[in-house]
């Protein structure tokens, strides 16, 4: 497997091979914690940190890895880092930890992390593996944030609620309320909203991809001219 260029790695992580939209890995934390923007941000950062560190260590350990035990070592590395993240979060972002606490250990089961260790980090040089972990982490975090904002706006009619959990007291006024007594569409705050939201995001990405892959001015199968909408 040849080493892709840095641009290619970033493009793949953020868009072409986005873990949340294309690989559809790590759905459990993605769907469970995306009910508000702040939850999504906390989970996204934690996942990004674990993914980057685990790719980094796996790439360092690459010469030592042996076929029989590589999966066990990946799991060990990932679980170790998740443990560290959980402790640090509990010490320094205690309030957020209280909310995300039960989901942090779930990062261990996030297939995206072991998937990147196996498919990329264990076969690539250190810089590429680290960049890949970071890009994939950012890609995952961005989808979490998008889904989180969407569900919070529709589901609770607020945005950035509880921002002080992550940023401290000054962020208490950051919360945006849409309407005085608006209570939101409950469905979106509940698990079905996560599935519907993610489905919509995947669909939007596919539409954008399709538009981008069509050469300008050529009439497509459906008989619609693919013209001005290429802006995306």
């Amino acid at each position: 497997m040849s080493t892709p260029s840095a641009n290619e790695i970033i493009y793949k992580g953020l868009w072409k091979n986005n873990p949340g939209l294309v690989q559809l890995l790590g759905l459990c934390p993605l769907l469970a914690v995306s009910n508000t923007f702040i939850n999504a941000l906390g989970m996204g950062l934690a996942t990004m940190l674990v993914l980057t560190s685990s790719n980094f260590v796996v790439a360092i350990a690459r010469p030592l890895l042996r076929e029989e035990i590589r999966i066990a070592i990946f799991v060990l590395v990932i679980a170790g880092f998740v443990g560290v993240v959980e402790l640090v979060m509990r010490a320094h972002f205690y309030e957020l930890y209280l909310i995300l606490g039960i989901f942090i250990p779930l990062i261990v089961t996030n297939c995206i992390i072991i998937g990147r260790a196996e498919a990329f980090a264990s076969r690539q040089p250190l810089w590429a593996a680290t960049l890949d972990g970071f890009s994939m982490g950012v890609g995952f975090a961005l989808i979490l944030l998008l889904l989180g904002s969407m569900r919070e706006i529709i589901g609770s009619a607020t945005l950035f609620a509880d921002a002080h959990l992550l940023f401290g007291e000054w962020a208490k006024d950051m919360t945006i309320h849409f309407g005085e007594d608006a209570r939101g569409l409950l469905l979106f705050a509940l698990p079905p909203g996560a599935f519907i939201g993610l489905g919509l995001l995947v669909a939007i990405k596919n539409v954008i991809d399709e538009k981008m892959s069509q050469p300008k001015g050529i009439v497509v199968k459906l008989g619609k001219p693919a013209t001005a909408d290429i802006s995306a």
Binding site: R66, L76, A79, G83, V84, A91, Y94, G155, S156, L190
Partner: protein
Amino acid sequence: MDTNKPESEASFPQWLKPGGLLGVFALIFIFLLAFTYELTRERIAIQDQLRLETQLKQLLVPGSYDNEPATDIFQPPDSGRIVYRARLNNSPVAALIKTVAKDGYSGSIQLLVGIKASGEILGVRALEHRETPGLGDDINLSRSDWILGFNDRSLRDPSPEGWAVKKDGGVFDAFTGATITPRAVIGEIKKTLIYFRDNQQELFQ
């Protein structure tokens, strides 16, 4: 995958190598975790303590007590409750009882029930729960002041039969679309009041 250290294979039985390598990795991460734990332990303990104090202070009137309720703990055996005691000049002011209503709509609801020495409720707060957002979570003070309706109530006001939602013949309101959550909360408060009445002597020893 090839290893790059063929010389060690001669002195090491082949099957031992992967195991040894795994062991080394395990050791490295044990040290990493132990190190992080040591670094964060103190801060986590402080955070836990602060959180408890914040929870207790939501109910206590400042100046009405002169001890540290967060460390004045009574843990009755096998009731699942924890009692924090507030005193003034060593005489009982209130008992703040952490208890769990097990029959919420989605799992347990952790409650903090403050009861004055006179048997009246100082206040109630929902600490932890997974009730439906937008319906059952009206037990949170941040969403609705329903939970304040228990202030100054006692087993005499209303009578024990009245400790239920209106639908069940009681005096307390339920939420639109959510009866199970208030029913669980009210039931547990009542049980806690009875527990307090029956054990008051022992509680403040």
